[in-house]
C-alpha cells in the first residue's frame, strides 16, 4: 500500500479513494476525487487553477523549496533493513513533520505581515467616507434643540486617587 499524490491537486490519496487513469504512453495519472478527475478531463492546467497546490507553489502562496520536502521523494534504491535505522526514522518523521508545519506557518505569517496596518488605515478611511451608510447625515450633526451648547471641560483626576489611597 502506498499513499500517492493526486496529479491535479497534490493531496494524498488514501486506499479506497479516487481513480487512476493510464494513458496510452503508459503514464499514470492518479486523482483523489472526481473533482480533480473532471478538471483533468476538461484539460485544465492545475498551475492555473487557484485551489491546487501547483498554483499555490507557483505563485508563492506556499513554501516552494525546503529541505523537508526531499524526505518525501520516492526512493528507488532501498537499503537493507536495520532495526535501529527504522526506529530512528520513525522518530525523525515526527520531528520533520513538526518542522515542516512550523516553516509553513512562518511563511504564511511573513506573507500576511503588514496587512494589519493596511487594514487599519482602510478602516479609518471607510469610517470617514461611508458612515452615511450606517447613520443618517442629519443624526451626525449636533442637535440645535438642546438649551446649552456642549462644552468640553477637563477634570483633574488626582483627587480621586488620593481618596483611593486613604
Amino acid at each position: 500500500m502506498r499513499l500517492e499524490k493526486c496529479w491535479f491537486c497534490s493531496s494524498t490519496i488514501y486506499p479506497g479513494h479516487g481513480i487512476q487513469f493510464v494513458r496510452n504512453d503508459a503514464k499514470i495519472f492518479r486523482f483523489c476525487r472526481s473533482k480533480c478527475h473532471k478538471n483533468f478531463k476538461m484539460k485544465r492546467n492545475p498551475r492555473k487553477v487557484k485551489w491546487t497546490k501547483a498554483y499555490r507553489r507557483l505563485h508563492g502562496k506556499d513554501v516552494t523549496q525546503d529541505s523537508t520536502f526531499k524526505f518525501e521523494r520516492k526512493h528507488n534504491r532501498p537499503e537493507r533493513y536495520d532495526r535501529n535505522v527504522t526506529e530512528n526514522t520513525l522518530k525523525a518523521i515526527k520531528k520533520i513533520d513538526k518542522v515542516r508545519v512550523a516553516r509553513e506557518a512562518r511563511h504564511h505569517a511573513m506573507r500576511m505581515k503588514g496587512t494589519k496596518a493596511i487594514e487599519q488605515r482602510e478602516a479609518v478611511k471607510e469610517l470617514e467616507q461611508s458612515i452615511h451608510m450606517i447613520k443618517a447625515p442629519k443624526a451626525l450633526q449636533p442637535k440645535p434643540s438642546l438649551p446649552l451648547p456642549k462644552i468640553k471641560v477637563k477634570v483633574s483626576q488626582p483627587q480621586a486617587k488620593d481618596n483611593m489611597q486613604k
Partner: protein, 245 residues
C-alpha cells in the same frame, strides 16, 4: 546439468523464475516440488528467494538481472523492493526503474558482461542498466523481433536464440556477445526461449515438455556437461540445427 521442471502444470518456467550466478528468484504460489527442484540444486550455493513483483507471479519476465544487480519495474511495491533488498546479498544492487516498457525481462537479455536491449528503451534507462548491472549494452533485434529478452537467453558460457535467426545474424550476435550461440528451441519447439528455460553458468532448468534432443543441445551450448564426448555432440548438432536464411 539441465533439469526439467514444471510450475503449476505450465512448462514456461522462465516466466515464473529468474536465475543468475548470484541468486535465484522464484514466484510464490507454486507447489513445493517446484521450490525443492531449485533448492536441491542451488540452496547451498546461492540464495533462492520467493517473491512477487507488483503482486504478480510473472517475475521472470518483469525483472532483469545478473550477479551485479537486479532491475525491477515501476510496478514493484515498496514492500517487495525491501524484501528483495533484505534477501539478496549486498553485492547485488537492487534498483527500481521508471520505464514505459515495464516488462524488463522481455526487453533486456544479459549475462555478467554484456546486455542486449529492446531498441525503444529510454536513454536514461540504458544508463541505469550500464550502471547497475555493469554491462555493455547493445540495442539489437533477434530474428526481426524487438523483444530480445524473451527470444534469447545467454550465460557467460553460451547462448540459445530464436530458431528463425539467420546465420549472419547469429555470427554478428556471437561476436557482439563473445559467447558461442546456437539457434534452437525449447519445450517441444517453443520459440520463446527465455520463457521456456532459465540458465546460469553451471545449471539450467527447462520446462517439462523439453525433448531429450533439445536438452542435449542446451547442455552442450551452455557447457553444462563436465565431460562430453564431442563427436556425439557434433553429430547431433548437424542433424538438429537447420539453417533458416
Amino acid at each position: 546439468m539441465a533439469t526439467r521442471i514444471q510450475f503449476e502444470n505450465s512448462c514456461d518456467v522462465g516466466v515464473f523464475s529468474k536465475l543468475t550466478n548470484a541468486y535465484c528468484l522464484v514466484a510464490i504460489g507454486g507447489s513445493e516440488s517446484f521450490y525443492s527442484a531449485f533448492e536441491a540444486e542451488l540452496a547451498d550455493v546461492i540464495p533462492v528467494v520467493k517473491t512477487s513483483i507488483g503482486g504478480t507471479r510473472i517475475i521472470g519476465r518483469l525483472c532483469a538481472g545478473n550477479k551485479n544487480g537486479l532491475l525491477l519495474p515501476h510496478t514493484t511495491t515498496d514492500q517487495e523492493l525491501q524484501h528483495l533488498r533484505n534477501s539478496l546479498p549486498d553485492q547485488v544492487v537492487v534498483q527500481r526503474i521508471d520505464e514505459r516498457l515495464s516488462a524488463l525481462g522481455n526487453c533486456i537479455a544479459c549475462n555478467d558482461h554484456v546486455a542486449l536491449t529492446h531498441t525503444d528503451l529510454d536513454k536514461e534507462t540504458e544508463e541505469v542498466i550500464a550502471d547497475v548491472l555493469g554491462v555493455e549494452i547493445f540495442r539489437q533485434t533477434i530474428a526481426g523481433n524487438i523483444l530480445v529478452g524473451s527470444n534469447c537467453t545467454f550465460s557467460n558460457r553460451g547462448g540459445l536464440v530464436h530458431p528463425y535467426t539467420s546465420i549472419q545474424e547469429l555470427d554478428e550476435l556471437s561476436t557482439l556477445l563473445q559467447v558461442p550461440l546456437v539457434a534452437g528451441t525449447v519445450n517441444r519447439g517453443s520459440e520463446v526461449i527465455a520463457a521456456g528455460m532459465i540458465v546460469n553458468d553451471w545449471t539450467a532448468f527447462c520446462g517439462a515438455d523439453t525433448t531429450a534432443t533439445e536438452l542435449s543441445v542446451i547442455e552442450s551450448v551452455f557447457k553444462l556437461r563436465e565431460a562430453q564426448p564431442s563427436a556425439i555432440v557434433d553429430e547431433m548438432r548437424k542433424s538438429l540445427i537447420d539453417t533458416y536464411v
